[in-house]
C-alpha cells in the first residue's frame, strides 16, 4: 500500500531544471533510498516533499491528501517529519528539551493555558517528558538527557535529531543523509537504528551517499540524475544497472 506518491513533479530555479517530471511511490512500512551524484536534485526533492519548497507542477500525495501546497508545519502535523543534511538542533536547549519540542503536534496547551499554568497542562507536560525519555532510551542516548545539545559529539547530535523527529510519531520519516560525517562504526549503528525504526512501523525515505548503508538497509532505491529518475529497483538490481554505473562512473566504466 502506498503512503507517499510523487507524481510528475517539476521544479525550476531560474535556468536550472532541478527536478523534471519525477514520479515514484513509497510503500507503507518500507525503507526507500534516493541516491544520485552531487547536484542530481535529491535535497531539492526533499524540500519539495516536506513543504519547504513548492513544486512548479505535479502532485505530492501523502496518506491520501495532496500536500504540495501545504506549509512545512502542516505537513509535519499530518505525520511526515524530516531531518536535515546539516544538523539543525536547538543548540541552547538540552537533549531532552529538544526531543520534547517534537511532541508539539501531540499536545495542545496554548498561550493562555501556558500563562495561567492550567492543571490540564501539568499532566500534559508529564506525558511529554515521559514519552521523550522513552524515545531517548530507545535510541540509547538517555544518559545525555540533561546535556546541552550543542555540546554533544556530532554523531550523537544526529541521533538526537532523529529522536526529535520520532517524538512527532511520524508515519513517514524523511532522513537527509543520516550518515553524513559519521565514521564507519557510527554509520553501522545508524543503519541498525534506521532498521529498528522501520520495524516499529515507521516508513522511511532517505537520501544517502554511503552506498554500503543504502544497499544494506533499503527495500528499494531510486536513482536521480539531473533531476530525472533513471532507475528504480531493488538494491541488488540497482548495482547491476548499466545506466546507474554510467552516471556514477562515466562512460568508460561500461
Amino acid at each position: 500500500m502506498t503512503l507517499l506518491s510523487v507524481r510528475e513533479v517539476s521544479k525550476r530555479f531560474g535556468g536550472l531544471q532541478a527536478i523534471n517530471g519525477l514520479s515514484f511511490d513509497v510503500a507503507r512500512g518500507s525503507i526507500k533510498a534516493l541516491i544520485g551524484p552531487n547536484g542530481a536534485g535529491k535535497t531539492t526533492l526533499f524540500n519539495l516533499i516536506s513543504g519547504v519548497l513548492e513544486p512548479d507542477s505535479g502532485e505530492i500525495v501523502f496518506g491520501g491528501a495532496a500536500v504540495q501546497e501545504m506549509s512545512s508545519h502542516q505537513i509535519a502535523s499530518l505525520g511526515m517529519v524530516r531531518t536535515f543534511q546539516h544538523i539543525r538542533l536547538f543548540p541552547k536547549m538540552t537533549v531532552l528539551e529538544n526531543v520534547m519540542v517534537g511532541r508539539h503536534v501531540h499536545s495542545r496547551a496554548g498561550f493562555i493555558a501556558g500563562m495561567l499554568n492550567l492543571p490540564f497542562t501539568w499532566k500534559e507536560e508529564r506525558r511529554i517528558r515521559e514519552k521523550s525519555l522513552e524515545i531517548l532510551e530507545m535510541l540509547g542516548i538517555a544518559d545525555h538527557a540533561r546535556t546541552e545539545a550543542s555540546s554533544l559529539a556530532y554523531g550523537q547530535q544526529r541521533v538526537v535529531e532523529i529522536g526529535r523527529a520520532l517524538a512527532c510519531e511520524p508515519k513517514l520519516l524523511l532522513l537527509d543523509e543520516p550518515a553524513a560525517g559519521l565514521n564507519m562504526r557510527e554509520t553501522n549503528d545508524m543503519g541498525g537504528r534506521i532498521a529498528k525504526i522501520r520495524d516499529m512501523g515507521v516508513t522511511i525515505l532517505l537520501v544517502e551517499h554511503d552506498m554500503s548503508l543504502v544497499m544494506k538497509i533499503s527495500d528499494e532505491v531510486v536513482v536521480l540524475s539531473y533531476g530525472e529518475k533513471i532507475a528504480e529497483d531493488r538494491p541488488l538490481a540497482i548495482q547491476k544497472n548499466r545506466e546507474v554505473i554510467r552516471v556514477y562512473l562515466g562512460d568508460d566504466g561500461c
Binding site: 519547504v52 508545519h73 536535515f84 536547538f90 543548540p91 499554568n117
Partner: protein
Amino acid sequence: MRVRYFPVAAFAVLIVAIQLATHVTDSAYHLTQLTMTAYYSLLIVGLCMLIGYAGQISLGHAGFFAIGGYLTAFLTTRNLAPHQGKAVVSLLSKSGMLVSRPDIYGGDLLTVHPLLSCMAAVLLAVVIAYLVGGPVLKLKGHYLAMATLGFGIIIYRIALGTEFLGAADGISDVPGFPLALGLEITGKSSLRVLNYYLAWGLVILGMVLLLNLIHSRVGRALASIHGAEDAAEAVGIPTARYKLNVFVLSAAFASLAGVFLTHYNGGIGPSEASVMKSVRYVAIVAVGGMANLWGSLSMSLILNYLSLRGYFGTFDDAVFGIILIVIMLFAPDGLLRRHLFSDLKRLVSRNAADETAP
C-alpha cells in the same frame, strides 16, 4: 510550590525591604521613581519574551507604550458633557462607563471611566500589533529591527504632530485609575506607599504569567524558533503564528505599562514614544541577559531607577546607547546570561587547573 516561584518570593521580599529601607531612612520620595520603574519594568519583561525567548527584535515598543498611554489619557480627559444628547454617550452613561468630576476651573467634566479607556487602549495596541506584526515578522535580523524602528518613528511623529493629543506638550490632568477594593493608581503623595506596592504587585503578577509561559509547551516552541526556525517548522510548529502571538503579547504588556504609568503620572508626553525610549528598552533587555526574565527585571529596576533619579544627567540617552553598543560588542548573548554562573565556574576551575599544571 514549584522551584520557579522561589525567585518570585525572593523578589517580593526585596520589594518590601526597599520600602522599609526608605521608611527607616525617611526618604519615601524615592518610592515615586521606584513606582514609575515598576511600570517600565512591565514593558521590559514583555519585551524580554519577544527578544530573548522568541529571538525577534523590536525597536518600536515605545510606540505600543505610547498607544496605550495616549489613548487612555485622551479618553479620560476629553469632556463629553457637550455631547450628552448623542446615543453613544448616553449608552455609555447608562452602563456606568462615564464618570463626572470637577475640572480645575470648578466646572463639571464628564469623561470615560479609566477601566473602559484601559481596555480600549490595550485593545487598540493589540489590533495594531496584529496588523503591523503580520507583515513585519516575515523579516529577520536587521530588516526586522529597521521595520519596527520605522513603526516607532511613525507613532512618535503622530503623537508629536497631532493637535488633540497635545502635540509637543502631550496630555495632562489625567485622573487616577480606581481599581477594585478602594485601590487607585494615582500620584497622590498620600497614597505613595500603596501605589508602590500596587505597581510592583502588578509586575510580579506579570512575571508569574510569563514564567509559567516559558516553562510551558509554548515557551519551548518559542525557544525552538529562536534556536532553529526551519527545524521548529519541520516538527510541526506554526512559527509565523507563534512569532505574531508573542509580538502581540509583548505589545499588550507595553500598552498596559503605558496606561498605568500615564494614570500614575497624571499625563503623557511625546518623549514616551521616542525612538531613544525603544533603544533604552532593548538595551535593558540586552544587559539583562536576553533570555533571562529575572536578569531583565533586575537591570530594569536598577537602570530605570538611576535614570529617573537623574543620575545620568544630560547623558541619559547616551548611557543607554553606550550600554547597547558595549553589550553587542563584548557579550552579544547579554550580560546576565542563564549560564553565567556555570561559565564563570568553568573559567575559574580552568585557571586553577592551569596553575597546578607543571
